[in-house]
Point group: C2
Chain length 263, copies 2
DNA sequence: TTGCTCCTCACGTCACGTGAGGTGGC
DNA sequence: TTGCTCCTCACGTCACGTGAGGTGGC
């Protein structure tokens, strides 16, 4: 019979962990001295300890290890547990690959002319209730001349209603046949003369912060599109522009977040 | 100015986390009402929130994110942080690949004739002080006839000295020119007529539990060797056998752990 | 005034490591 | 008898989620 320290050395785990496994009922000593509380282990228990260590190092939780060590499991149940872990691992590996690719991209940018280049963030997009004006064009080329006036009308109506929005202005753009539907709005309560519309929530969206005037925003969208397709993603809904900082006298200093739902 | 709830929706994080980031000094509100404690955020802060979210999702800790967001960092420092994370990710991916391969191997075994096949565990090997007898052979073919008598002599000496070992008997085998040095021992204090020797500790060893008589242990070692080379590992020291259960009357029921240090 | 949002404090998660303070065994 | 090992209890880790109990703002 081995003391806990000897058994720990053979099993390659800490004494603390053997006590923990005992408390969880995963690996109990052969005999415990009722007077001193000392734990004693038969060498045969090393087989169970080895299996425990092996399953842990494959990334199973201790609860799952308990199921895997349970003698009553059928091969089909064991296979189900292993398959689940296999799928988790595949998911982790591909997520880590994507992270690695993004880190390598940023490293390349740092070596070269980094400052001019955009950074991308993936995050969920919350649903949004907008007080807005909407419009549409048949030809996308007309879009740039139509968005500005729409925002001008929006802010005119807000000023007339005496409403000062607390949050940023928001634009959205949805493909509509050969043309495009679009809207200009702010979040907040209903205002006479303006529509109330809703933007849906999305689990995943690629976003980026663009700094500069609206003249260059088309190029920024093109770069974002390229990034989305290089990451192996697809567009999953209408895109949004969130105008974070729009000092009237300095159109080149505007800060806009571009948001593209993806899947 | 946005309330914490509005800002959280735009940033795609929870209100709880915004308070946490504030407490850590990573992302502080533009203004805090001294009376109510309410936090208010400028829309411009979304750029910082996005960067924070992006770095977190690349797997950086919040402490590292703090360094990455710090304006005072030079491109070289940023590159160093990114490179470190890149190397971590590469390590994780290859570790996960190895886990995946092992899980797939076990799944294949479960489909086929699983029960007869060995399971392998990787764990560290502790240093060991042995009370032992040693010998050597010039020709490895002689080994099997020489190990048994060595153990017989060992146990004879232990009985004569009145020593009952608490732990398992241990054999070790080290290549020595064309032949092999080997030992038979038990852990525990010095015994007259026996040598005292030490086995070194190893960070990594592949181990397996073999059930059966010593006649089949050579085959078990061959399977283990095959597993080691398939896993892309190399031998890194003398191997050990730990005799976990050795009922005298049932040599076919013996339980032995095979241990092979690797790198 | 009613809901809604916001506030702080604090506990739970998971698989450990690392003490503190005390006792048993050779 | 001295060290060494063992015992239990409990806190710290990390990035969160989820309450409890209370207050502010429209």
């Amino acid at each position: 019979m081995l003391s806990i320290g000897e058994f720990a050395r053979f099993a390659g785990v800490s004494v603390r962990m053997l006590r923990h496994y005992d408390a969880l009922g995963l690996l109990s000593p052969t005999w415990v001295d009722p007077h001193s509380g000392y734990r004693y282990y038969q060498p045969e228990l090393l087989a169970r300890a080895d299996a425990l260590v092996a399953f842990r190092s494959l990334g199973f939780s201790l609860e799952e290890v308990g199921e895997l060590l349970d003698q009553g499991r059928t091969p089909a149940e064991l296979a189900a547990l292993l398959s689940r872990r296999r799928d988790e691992l595949r998911g982790q590996i591909s997520a880590d690959r994507a992270r690695l690719a993004e880190i390598e991209r940023r490293l390349r940018l740092l070596e070269g002319d980094a400052m001019s280049t955009l950074e991308y963030t993936e995050k969920p997009l919350a649903a949004l209730t907008l007080t807005q004006l909407t419009d549409r064009v048949d030809d996308v080329a007309e879009l740039s001349q139509r968005v500005g006036p729409l925002f001008a009308r929006l802010f005119g109506a807000l000023v007339q209603a005496g409403v000062e929005p607390s949050g940023p202005a928001i634009g959205w753009y949805a493909a509509d046949g050969a043309g495009m539907r679009f809207g200009a709005g702010v979040s907040g309560g209903p205002v006479a003369g303006l529509e109330t519309g809703a933007l849906a929530a999305y689990d995943r969206a690629v976003t980026t912060i663009y700094r500069g005037s609206m003249a260059g925003i088309g190029e920024a969208w093109q770069e974002l599109s390229r990034h989305v397709s290089e990451a192996g993603l697809e567009f999953a809904g209408p895109c949004r522009e969130v105008y974070l900082s729009t000092p009237l006298e300095e159109p080149d200093a505007w800060v806009t977040e571009l948001q593209q739902p993806v899947k």
